[in-house]
């Protein structure tokens, strides 16, 4: 079992007071807090090992290269990928999706093709495809969402066809926390010779992921939502697909050779091996080191324990929130079908007022669209408040949150 009280000791920021109240951080779907182990790993890198990676013979560069490569290996093991060749470090989920759109989509999608995206997607899994469709002319088909916020699998199956080239779906909704059956989706996509891109921003930090079992072709996730630093994220891709893809960006690191041809007066270029072919320029080395430490921290706790803790906390919070007359909660209430995200509104108040009121008492939640405006349109919401939990949150914090929500009723 996970002990949140012991875990909290590792998170310096949780000792902070906001407006003279102990900090209660319920905005974990936006970003997680960082344990001292991650902070120390980054500090240690800069104090003892900082150098640019690869193609240098000096000791520091060898140390930095080894750490950076180990980080790739650690992530590969974390999601049960075949190896670091399948792990590309990027800035975050958004860049990972853009990488697939431009390095794969730009070269493989034509005007006769179709791309399926769900209406529950974060804008980062909608906008790149809409932009690209204006260039390549392919059609985007949106998979519908049921009234409870779950994906309508039947309708999705009815829109997929031999024209479909890729299905882009989030594993866990960042609005409702709904868990999609991505293994089933990958199977449906593959039966139609389509690829799958899974937005794992809200799943990889909270669930045990075996990418081989899910059989998704691409998986995108962010380090900062899983105890790691900002500015580092991951694109997993099946090696055979990545090998055939064109690079995303050009520059140093991603090439093996650039030679000037006297006859053609042009440079001929050969790409570097995977994953470096997709990591142009000096990478975020310290970010990789920090993410590696974050993954080690999560592995030590055990991802099954992470999920169990969040389920219990979400179940408790949902029960307490449903006792309040003026609170409307969206999405499914069955915690076995969702992660620790609760979207809600307080009747008669804007979500921003709710967030500002809670902020008064040191409680941090998010308000607005959460980058899921189409899903808000389906729910007929102008905005929503969102509480989201992680390993260091406790029942006492939920109790305090409920106490303050009760006070809001006076407003």
């Amino acid at each position: 079992m996970l002990d949140p009280y012991k875990i909290r000791e590792d998170f310096p920021i949780l000792k902070r007071k906001i407006n003279d109240y102990p900090l209660i951080y319920f905005d974990n779907a936006a970003t997680s807090q960082k344990p001292k182990q991650v902070i120390e790993a980054i500090k240690n890198f800069y104090e003892n090992h900082n150098a640019n990676v690869h193609r240098a013979v000096h000791t520091l560069s060898q140390e930095a290269s080894e750490l950076y490569e180990n980080a790739h290996e650690e992530i590969a093991k974390f999601i049960s990928a075949n190896g670091m060749e399948e792990i590309i470090f990027v800035r975050g989920t958004t860049e990972a999706i853009n990488l697939v759109a431009y390095a794969w989509g730009l070269h493989n999608l034509t005007k006769d093709d179709e791309v399926i995206v769900s209406l529950m997607e974060h804008h980062s899994n909608i906008v790149p495809w809409e932009i690209l469709s204006k260039i390549n002319g392919f059609k985007i088909k949106y998979a519908e969402v049921n009234d409870d916020g779950t994906l309508n699998y039947e309708k999705l199956e009815s829109i997929i066809s031999k024209k479909t080239k890729i299905v882009c779906i989030s594993h866990v909704s960042n609005f409702s926390g709904v868990i999609n059956d991505v293994k089933k989706l990958a199977k449906i996509a593959h039966e139609n010779n389509a690829l799958t891109l899974i937005d794992g921003a809200q799943s990889v930090p909270h669930l045990s992921i075996n990418i081989k079992d899910l059989d998704a072709d691409f998986l995108a996730f962010s380090g900062h939502k899983m105890l790691g630093p900002t500015g580092i994220g991951v694109l997993y891709g099946k090696q055979e697909i990545l090998k055939d893809m064109e690079p995303f960006q050009g520059g140093g690191e991603m090439i093996r050779e650039v030679s000037f041809n006297q006859a053609t007066k042009r440079c001929s270029i050969t790409w570097n091996d995977l994953p470096w072919k997709f990591e142009a320029g000096t990478p975020n080395i310290s970010g990789g080191v920090g993410l590696m430490e974050a993954v080690k921290y999560l592995k030590k706790i055990g991802m099954e324990n992470v999920k169990t803790h969040e389920c219990q906390l979400t179940e408790y919070a949902l029960r307490r929130m449903q006792e309040q007359r003026n609170i409307a909660i969206y999405g499914p209430k069955d915690v076995s079908a969702k992660c620790g995200i609760i979207p809600f509104n307080v009747k008669g108040l804007s979500s921003h007022d709710v967030a500002l009121f809670l902020d008064n008492y040191g409680i941090m939640i998010r308000s607005g669209y959460h980058c899921t405006q189409p899903l808000h349109q389906i729910f007929k919401l102008t905005s929503s408040a969102r509480a989201s939990f992680y390993i260091y949150n406790t029942r006492e914090e939920v109790d305090r949150f409920i106490e303050v929500l009760k006070e809001i009723e006076q407003v």
Binding site: D353, L356, D359, S383
Partner: protein, 89 residues
């Protein structure tokens, strides 16, 4: 000479259909800001010193004890700037 920027730390447009504007006042000046605003705006109601529901020049807004205010139905930046100038200076 004192100006609005001396009191305002950040102005954020909210994310959502409402298009409200949140003004975050400088933390060290929040008590002075609250006192100045309460003097000029009309208080519709207040809850302790946590929230003040106010109106000024037909614009309604809520002022929080933490030194943050949420303005509704603001036409544009110029209108917000004018109201803040009136209230703070």
């Amino acid at each position: 000479m004192v100006n609005v920027e001396d009191y305002v730390a950040r102005i954020e447009g909210t994310c959502g259909e409402e298009k409200d504007v949140i003004v975050i006042f400088k933390y060290d000046k929040k008590d002075e800001v609250i006192a100045r605003i309460l003097k000029k705006a009309k208080t519709k109601r207040s809850i302790s010193t946590i929230i003040f529901e106010l109106t000024y020049d037909d614009v309604s807004f809520r002022l929080y004890g933490t030194g943050k205010a949420i303005f509704r139905s603001i036409k544009d930046k110029d209108e917000l700037q004018r109201i803040l100038s009136d209230l703070l200076l």
